[in-house]
Amino acid sequence: MTTSTPAPTALARRPLFWVLVAALPVGLIACLYLSPSLFDPTPEWALGLLLATAQTLLALLIVFLLDTRRSIGLLFGALAFAWGVLVSTPLAMFVNTAWISALTKAGLGTVSAAMVAPIDEELAKAIGALLVLALLLPRRVGPLQGLIIGFLVGAGFEIAENFSYALNAASAAERSHVLSTVIDTFVLRSTEGLLLHALWTGVIAAGIGAAVGASTAKARSVALLTTAGLLLSAMLFHALWDLPQLSTSSAEAAVRGALLYGTIVAVFLVVWFVGWRRDRRARRSGDPLENAHRPRSLSST
């Protein structure tokens, strides 16, 4: 995933780097506080960790295919993934619980997840992508880099969520079905909406990447407007996915879910292709400082 590594001294001088690094143990402590069972080493926990690792490898394979020019350094990719796991997840867990509980008491339990999760979770992930992309500067930052970083943040979030769901389901299962429940949860989450969080955050962060890498005020304004549109689109897709109409076990719900998933994948691929083509065009235009430390950032150059 990497072709170049930033100089450690350069990163060490960046306040943002230390903000990102410091947030990880804080997030870990928050996870431990909010859901201590996630750290209880039982057989189902080990199985869940194994399956989560398998999903992580799948996500990395997809990143390998998407980032053909290896424009994201390993350190930045790891930071993005870790942020999704350790920071975005506990934040969303806390905020979702508070709002869904309140909406349920208000009589909106059926649609509470569709109302709350798209806003909380997409914001929690997008901020992580923003910070990692800002840290990437003055390396090349544009829509493609944004999409990759966003994909990794979202993948980290989703895999942590899957792990949490699997252990929750296992805790409610009969003792003889605990391990099969963990497997069933991962299979379900892999066959219905695989890596959706990664797709949503990738789309949003493509806009963020363009904004972070923009070199003029006008370009940044356009990119920010685009980001707002992509954020709203991702939230809308997320809300549609979380509606109870897609949670029923009917054939109609399955078809509807497949169509929605296909649309989301198509949007993601279109955004990726636009970013990839602009990245290629910029490189062909003769930028000799690919991935080098430059005095200023050039968006998609």
């Binding site: 960046r14 306040p15 943002l16 903000v19 934040l91 806390f94 905020v95 508070a98 709002w99 309140a102 349920t104 008491k105 208000a106 009589g107 909106l108 339990g109 059926t110 909380d120 914001l123 929690a124 901020i127 923003l130 910070l131 800002a134 840290l135 500067l137 003055p138 544009g142 829509p143 806009g207 363009a210 890498g213 923009a214 070199s215 003029t216 005020a217 370009a219 356009v222 990119a223 685009t226 109870p244 109409q245 897609l246 029923t248 009917s250 109609e252 719900a253 509807r256 636009v274 970013g275 602009r278 910029a282 235009s285 430059r294 005095p295 200023r296 050039l298 968006s299 998609s300 150059t301």
Partner: protein
């Protein structure tokens, strides 16, 4: 998205902040968004139920009289089904131990109607238990279903509405969101 090229001038522009300043600015933006999310989650939800009552069309509260050991049955009209769960404001383990969750049973009857049976409610032990009913009906076009949420407050005996009122409220709520006419 922008489409800048390498032909852009490398001269720093006024919009290009210094790295440290930029880092601090973006770090503050990120921390600010997170803090606003946390603060809103802590401060706003406690105010919501009272504000939402009557303001949101899918909210109703019906109080059912029940005593320890009572069986409370709600029978839905044909073509409907009821499902529900206790919201006890206690953790699952405590609820299971007190038998609260185990006492909510949902079943389908042969004529297509459904009932939810609440048994063994202990008003003394849990005087303010709230039963949420999610009343659903398949959509007319066969795609999915529409649901209405009704909150039933099960409390100690006294001057409370009866079960017919509960069903009536359920229907009214369902009608308000178009589940039934």
């Amino acid at each position: 998205m922008t489409d800048q090229t390498a032909a852009d001038t490398p001269t720093p522009t006024p919009t290009e902040p210094q790295p440290v300043r930029r880092d601090l600015t973006l770090g503050l933006i990120g921390a600010g968004v997170y803090l606003v999310m946390i603060a809103a989650a802590v401060a706003v939800p406690p105010l919501l139920p009272a504000a939402a009552e009557g303001a949101i069309g899918v909210y109703q509260r019906v109080t059912i009289a029940a005593e320890t050991g009572d069986d409370v049955s709600l029978v839905a009209p044909q073509g409907w089904y009821l499902s529900g769960e206790w919201n006890t404001d206690v953790d699952d383990e405590t609820a299971q131990a007190s038998g609260i969750l185990a006492n909510v049973v949902t079943f389908d009857s042969p004529d297509g109607s459904s009932s939810i049976v609440v048994t063994g409610f202990d008003a003394e032990q849990d005087p303010d238990s709230v039963l949420f009913l999610h009343t659903c009906k398949p959509a007319s076009d066969g795609a999915g279903e529409s649901c209405a949420d009704v909150q039933l407050l099960v409390s100690t005996p006294g001057d409370h509405a009866d079960l017919a009122s509960a069903i009536s409220a359920t229907r009214a709520v369902a009608a308000s969101i178009g589940v039934v006419s």
